[in-house]
């Protein structure tokens, strides 16, 4: 056996592109030292990564770093989707960062470099074929964010938020690692598919208390990353303290990363009869608590943060169908995974649009402010306000936000196909609670203005908002596009 493994470099291309972007940004910042050039390189790199990710995934699955049949790097449809979406979200967040970077309190080179690093983690995450690659990729995605959250000079809130996020996140990673180690102790393997096959084949292993503990630890650790209740407490404080674009990244790309990691282990590695009940409970708690607490929020970003906690519950809900035997048939499982991915896609798009609108309506370098600051915003900026309202209504899941409506429909359909009617009812009733606060924000957008200063939205922010809104409208009328890529 040769000690040198052949590496399929084409399969690795998206990761090279993402990592190359990070290095290039650093070099350009060092050598050219012009902020515009740095941002442009980062944007180009993100675009290239998105294109590369989609193209490499187009012609079937490529594997590399294999031991026998088990591969640590699997670039297939799911990886291509995750890579492309993460890269596009990075591009979107870069566009939102225009006013922040021009305000001068944030170092441009470092900011773009860290963002590109996080993107690299996200791109690798989708292709991870074993637990260690998965955890390292997830950590690469979140590690730069600790710094990004606190990067603004002289911002105490930012520093506090960064420390909270750091401590919680490190604990979460440790917990996941411990779980992975215990799984290795039980089964002797770390590759996801091999883990799944071993646990499915040997009932004596699934019955062990150690396996249960390991599964619980892995799921709990990853639940921190998606901010699922009861592992959610860091999210509102962190989002609110972070600069707005970073909060947008946290609640879209970073959350998507957590969801992808959780899906990977649940779908491929862990037995459904162990994860199903845990996920069902997590989903119910997450959406209910998220929605109920969001009702009481008075600060814009905190409200969005709690709402994004609740949305994570909807993403997890289809996986809760695994709790029942009827939900663990092949068809029902496939439908549940596809529904979770589809919901996550609909959600990140609408969430990005919502954050873009907040950035557009707030002064450069400002925080999210209170809901009262947004009063009458739609009367002063009809287009921006309208886009914000559309995003909020979409998050609530009602027409004319058809994208959000179809997202909810997808989840309910998958749950009923898995015979988890009770969970579908919980999702449905939560949509009613959710409407209460989304409606409050939307209504205040159209209230009589209180007479605050008029801010002109930056051009890049308006562009990002426009693109996200148009995309949301398009997939609102053609949701099959999303459902197709999600099922791959």
């Amino acid at each position: 056996m040769s000690l040198v493994q052949p590496v399929d470099n084409l399969a690795m291309l998206p990761a090279y592109l993402a990592a190359g972007t990070a290095v290039l940004v650093l070099l350009v910042d060092l050598l050219v030292a012009r902020p515009a050039a740095t941002v442009a390189v980062a944007a180009l790199g993100a675009t290239g990564t998105a294109v590369g990710a989609a193209l490499v995934g187009a012609d079937g699955t490529r594997r590399t770093f294999c031991v026998g049949d088990d591969c640590s790097w699997v670039w297939g449809g799911r990886a291509a989707l995750v890579g492309a979406v993460i890269a596009l979200l990075t591009l979107g967040v870069l566009a939102l960062s225009g006013p922040l970077l021009r305000a001068g309190r944030t170092p441009v080179g470092e900011y773009c470099f860290l963002l590109a690093c996080a993107m690299t983690g996200g791109v690798v995450l989708g292709a991870a074929g074993d637990l260690i690659t998965l955890i390292v990729a997830l950590e690469t995605l979140t590690l730069p964010l600790y710094v990004l959250v606190g990067l603004r000079r002289g911002s105490l809130a930012g520093a506090e938020a960064a420390v909270t996020f750091f401590v919680v996140s490190v604990v979460a990673t440790t917990v996941t690692l411990l779980g992975a180690a215990l799984l290795y102790a039980v089964t002797g393997t770390l590759h996801l598919d091999r883990l799944g096959a071993t646990l499915a084949a040997r009932d004596d292993l699934t019955g062990l208390p150690l396996t249960t503990v390991a599964v619980a630890l892995v799921v709990a650790g990853l639940a921190f990353k998606v901010a699922a209740v009861p592992f959610h407490a860091w999210a509102p404080a962190t989002y609110d303290g972070a600069p707005l674009p970073v909060a947008a990244y946290l609640s879209t790309a970073s959350k998507l990363g957590g969801v992808v990691a959780l899906l990977a282990v649940v779908q491929r590695a862990l037995p459904g009869d162990l994860t199903g009940p845990v996920l069902a409970a997590l989903a119910v708690l997450t959406m209910t608590v998220g929605n109920l607490v969001a009702l009481r929020q008075r600060r814009t970003v905190r409200l969005l943060a709690w709402s994004s906690v609740a949305q994570a519950g909807y993403i997890l809900a289809p996986l809760g169908a695994l709790a029942l035997t009827a939900g663990r048939t092949g068809d029902a499982r496939a439908a549940a995974y596809a529904a979770a991915v589809a919901y996550a896609l609909f959600f990140v798009l609408l969430e990005l649009a919502a954050f873009a609108a907040v950035v557009a309506l707030r002064p450069a370098d400002g925080d999210g402010g209170t809901l009262a600051d947004l009063r009458g915003a739609a009367r002063r900026h009809p287009w921006v306000g309208g886009a914000f309202a559309l995003a909020l209504i979409g998050l609530a899941g009602l027409p004319p936000g058809l994208a959000g409506l179809f997202a909810k429909v997808t989840v309910v359909r998958a749950l009923l196909a898995g015979h988890a009617g009770w969970l579908a009812l919980v999702v449905a009733l939560n949509a009613v609670i959710g409407l209460a606060y989304y409606l409050r924000v939307t209504a205040s957008l159209y209230a009589t203005p209180a007479g605050a200063a008029v801010v002109r939205p930056a051009r890049t922010v308006a562009l990002a908002l426009g693109v996200a809104t148009v995309a949301a409208v398009v997939i609102g009328f053609a949701p099959q596009l999303v459902l197709d890529v999600a099922a791959r």
């Binding site: 027409p399 997808t410 449905a428 949509a431 009589t448 053609a478 949701p479």
Partner: protein, 501 residues
């Protein structure tokens, strides 16, 4: 595409485009005019829909739903959603009524924009979006599409109430939105209970049960009936209605009472009874008891009401109780009564809300205590109010009579102690209706003019007459010739009952 298919698409597309144009055109007046023209074109498009193949002749087994026209296009296969529209004798009268009331409301808005801050063209645009949702609901022959259109109505109606309503409008609008969303999420779950069990969302295939197990049918009917009970509304899920109707601007109340409530009763007949007939049979006694409770409680509450709009709003609870009683009997007479009751209530209550709005705009109060002697100062308005009230209390010869009388007849014919008791109680409720409407007339039109009424000018504006006269004529026409509605509905109703066990 055939002419009928073009018409079906036009009925949904024209108001949607009209709404866009009204919202985007520069100039408030121009927007309102364009919106009204779109509403007019929509009404014109609904009328020729009647001229299709009615298909109630011939032999052999026939599907329980035979649309005169239909169009069936792929939309989202991943969610079992097809763009499948069709019209038949159950939906067509409601479609025309919706188009007519929207046109009247848009025309009324040309003349007067209710105060509240919003622009007139935005109001017209929202009314048109509401129309898209209601028409789509009546036309949808795909369960998921039905749900989609059912949801479309919610936020625009919320905006109409919150933007142009009375003093307490925000609370009322929020209550309306949350309550009705509660109903429609149950509808969503119910729809997919059916779809995932049957493997199709096509209403034509599904009507008659489509081989669903009894358990599925019971679960589906419970969810669907609850959803429609919130919309109709059925006591005790009605409490959003009085607030919403009272606080909404005149045109909002007209649309709400006139056609929006019918989405619930139509859904109950077409979807809940059609898709889960066994469930309907099982739940019929409960539905009947609740319907009669609604009639009695609505009547008693109306007797104690002191506000004109609120009284009319509560009267809707009673009237819709009669409609639901008709449905609950699951007999041909009962369903026919429900359908004609729907139309009659739409016409008469629409008119009543227009008149109540006119009284309130003139006298600046809706309190019965501060109104009296209207016939002294504004005899025409008082006369019309008297006509509408008498029509609403079910005088034979006017539209309101048929629905209520035949709902009671259907309950008697159903037989058995339960249904006989219900029939007697419902008839008593009919007497209560007469009592509270006569009380209303005595308080408002008779007596010496109160200070609020004393200064009123006797005339009516041309726009007001334009909006009211069609409704007056329709109330007379449906009252004198109920066959206008019933002749179209009898075939579909027989076919529907043919599949109910």
């Amino acid at each position: 595409m055939t002419f009928g298919q073009v018409l079906l698409v036009a009925v949904v597309a024209v108001p949607a485009l009209g709404a866009l144009a009204a919202a985007l055109l520069p100039g408030d007046r121009a927007g309102r005019v364009v919106g009204t023209v779109a509403a007019g074109l929509t009404l014109l498009a609904t009328l020729p829909l009647v001229g299709g193949e009615h298909g109630w002749f011939g032999y052999g087994p026939r599907p329980a739903v035979q649309p005169w026209h239909q169009i069936d296009l792929r939309w989202v296969p991943g969610l079992d959603l097809r763009f499948h529209l069709g019209v038949d004798g159950i939906s067509w009268p409601l479609v025309v009524l919706t188009a007519l009331l929207t046109l009247l409301c848009c025309a009324y808005t040309l003349w007067r924009v209710p105060p509240g801050g919003g622009s007139g063209r935005a109001l017209v645009a929202l009314l048109l979006v509401v129309e898209v949702g209601i028409l789509g609901t009546f036309l949808a022959l795909d369960l998921v599409l039905f749900f989609l259109f059912f949801e479309v109505v919610l936020l625009p109606m919320y905006a109409v109430i919150a933007g142009w309503g009375g003093a307490d409008r925000r609370r009322a609008a929020r209550k309306f939105a949350l309550y009705t969303l509660f109903g429609s999420v149950l509808l969503l779950v119910g729809v997919y209970v059916v779809v995932s069990a049957a493997g199709t969302a096509d209403l034509v295939t599904l009507t008659g049960g489509a081989g669903l197990s009894r358990g599925t049918q019971l679960a589906a009917f419970t969810l669907l009936a609850l959803a429609f009970a919130v919309k109709s509304p059925l006591w005790p899920l009605h409490s959003w209605l009085p607030d919403a109707h009272t606080q909404a601007p005149t045109v909002g109340s007209v649309i709400l009472a006139g056609v929006l409530l019918k989405m619930g009763t139509y859904g109950l007949i077409r979807v809940a009874v059609g898709v889960a007939p066994e469930g309907a049979r099982w739940a019929a006694p409960v539905l009947g008891v609740l319907a009669v409770a609604a009639i009695l409680i609505g009547g008693l509450v109306c007797l104690a009401q002191d506000d004109l709009k609120r009284l009319i709003a509560y009267s809707s609870v009673g009237h819709m109780g009669f409609v639901l009683l008709g449905v609950a009997t699951l007999t041909a007479t009962g369903l026919q009564a429900a359908l004609i009751g729907n139309i009659a209530h739409g016409v008469i209550t629409g008119l009543l809300f227009f008149l109540a709005g006119a009284v309130k705009d003139r006298a600046h109060t809706g309190s019965l205590a501060e109104l009296s002697g209207l016939r002294e100062t504004a005899p025409r308005l008082a006369g019309l109010l008297g006509f509408a009230a008498v029509a609403s209390l079910g005088l034979p010869g006017l539209a309101g009579f048929w629905g209520e009388a035949f709902a009671v007849v259907a309950a008697v014919r159903r037989g058995g102690p339960l249904w006989l008791t219900l029939a007697v109680l419902a008839a008593l409720g009919g007497a209560l209706t007469a009592a509270y409407f006569l009380r209303l007339l005595r308080r408002v039109t008779h007596g010496r003019p109160s200070p609020a009424v004393a200064g009123l000018a006797p005339g009516l504006a041309g726009a007001e007459l334009t909006a009211w006269v069609p409704l007056v004529l329709l109330a007379l026409a449906v009252g004198l010739a109920p066959a206008l509605v019933l002749s179209y509905a009898s075939g579909p109703v027989e076919a529907l009952l043919g599949v109910v066990p």
